[in-house]
């Protein structure tokens, strides 16, 4: 059976349309990337509520902050690498310190902007956003969850960062699946080890689950769509009940999901952890598939990491 493939940015586009219909205060801003980020879908339907700010990410965040002060719910949209990096101080001082109701969408996260090379691959966005007080960080795993995350962000109060990907990836969740910010989804209930993953790589974790099941290893798979606030209870329970943890993400391990999980476990339940992600380096151009193989982000790499962490139990 072939699985449907859609980019998570499409989920963002659908989520914005749903929000736009439900709430006239929802506005969308973009920094000259509306076609790529799918914010142009909202622009086409609600042109009076869409504002292109041009190639000026810092000003876009400040403008969004002012709109939020005026009671609006602005979604400031562009590539994750630009908004999280270039506008970090604006996000810190204006949005997070003031705790404003600004939503920030970072498209083309992880290795999904493959061909564009290192300048366009957002690998530090999670770390940069996670460190900010008041910020929520959402990394949906497929297009359906991306839509739910977008709608949830538009409903909850306060700053949110949403990460989306460019490439079509498997759609494996359903409309009916439970989604709530800050509550992890346990996709497989295993007992020998746990993979905690965020983003489209969750699908690789499910493939790893199949392979390991064939070898008699019972793997728990957690979809950690909210990296902040992290569902610490789910992390600690996984550590207590399976005794071995693997984290998986398309991001720098330092400060990313791996870092977040390690912080919790070091304090609450020291447990062997292996981390799959980017090891403190810039990547290069290539298709996302090529990069995933070269930089160790496939199901095969996850299987290897699980076996490694099992040996440390």
């Amino acid at each position: 059976m072939s699985i449907m493939m859609l980019p998570t940015r499409d989920g963002y586009g659908y989520g914005l349309l749903e929000l736009g219909a439900a709430n006239p205060d929802v506005l969308v801003l973009d920094a000259d990337l509306a076609k790529s980020t799918r914010s142009d879908w909202f622009a086409a339907k609600y042109p009076e509520r869409f504002f292109d700010i041009g190639i000026s990410e810092q000003d876009m965040i400040g403008t969004a902050a002012g709109l939020a002060l005026g009671g609006k719910i602005p979604f400031a949209t562009t590539y994750g690498v630009f908004v999280a990096g270039r506008a970090w101080d604006q996000i810190r001082t204006t949005v997070c310190y003031s705790d404003l109701n600004v939503k920030i969408a970072g498209a083309h996260g992880g290795i999904s902007a493959g061909g564009d090379g290192a300048t366009h691959q957002a690998l530090e966005d999670i770390a940069l956003m996670r460190v900010l007080p008041n910020m929520k960080v959402l990394v949906p795993c497929d297009a359906i969850e991306a839509k739910k995350a977008t709608v949830a962000a538009g409903t909850v109060l306060g700053p949110c960062f949403l990460r989306f990907a460019r490439e079509a990836t498997p759609v494996f969740t359903t409309e009916g699946d439970f989604f709530e910010i800050g509550i992890a989804n346990i996709l497989k209930p295993g007992t020998d080890a746990t993979i905690i993953a965020a983003g489209p790589i969750v699908y690789e974790a499910l493939l790893a689950h199949e392979q390991l099941a064939a070898e008699g290893i019972s793997l728990r798979v957690i979809n950690m769509h909210t990296i902040k606030p992290l569902d610490e209870a789910a992390v600690v329970a996984a550590a207590r009940e399976t005794g071995a943890i693997v984290t998986a993400e398309e991001a720098q391990l330092y400060g990313g999901l791996g870092g977040a999980v390690a912080e919790v476990l070091a304090r609450k339940c020291p447990t062997p952890v292996e981390m799959v992600g980017i090891e403190d380096s810039f990547l290069e151009c290539g298709t996302p598939e090529e990069l995933a193989v070269k930089y160790g982000l496939t199901a095969k790499d996850l299987v290897r990491a699980v076996k490694k962490v099992l040996a440390r139990k």
Binding site: G70, G71, K72, Y97, S98
Partner: protein, 276 residues
Amino acid sequence: MESMQRLKEFCQDVRADIVRMTSAAGSGHPGGSLSAVEAMTVLYFNVMNHRPQEPGWPERDRFFLSKGHACPVTYSVMARSGYFPVEELLTLRKCGTRLQGHPSCKTLPGIEVSSGSLGQGLSIANGFALSAKIDNKPYRAYCLMGDGELQEGQVWEAIMTAAHYKLDNVCAIVDYNGLQIDGDVESVMGIAPLAQKWTAFNWHVIEADGHNLEQMQAAYAEAAQTKGKPSVIIMKTIKGKGISFMENVAGWHGKAPNQQELQSALAEIYGKENGK
């Protein structure tokens, strides 16, 4: 609406507040606060539509302090117009105070947004003004900026945005005192010719003497009457204005007066030649 004579007296008190509160704190930014005294006094007492007893009144005009370090002057005009007791000014920068060293909207009602990292206020004013346009509301957004602050690239992004979206409900005020921490603005990183630059970016430019109350009052009125484009008041000022040993000395950007300097400043502010 206060008379010019009354405003003049308020300005004396505001200047005294600035030196008293920074002196009590042992740190802070008197220079760029003193240069904006007349602009802020006119704005808070005679221009803005606001309710100091009801800081969250939705219909109020908004003031955004982009040069966050000039919070002493902001706190003073807020206290003097009734947002909080004047005595609280002396808690500036003390641990536990609502009057943070750079303003925090989470601690002090009446501060619209936290600021302190330069170059961000005009973007915020624009966003607020845009929300007012969307909702067909008459309220206006005021934004006080430093001249050195104009070296920040984001400021010019925001200048473009305000003109692009024809935000005639935005009024920027540039405190053109000519000094920044490292010295003369023109020697550190030149920003002249300022009026031509804002004009070229499709703003309505009003030049005024920032220490002349009548001129400032007229400048705000001209800005409010200007339709179809945003207005900027480029006000020529003197850093440290009103205290002779602080005037035009960059070193007083971020230094508090000691006891002796405080007494000498107060004597000058309230001296005979100043009519009190």
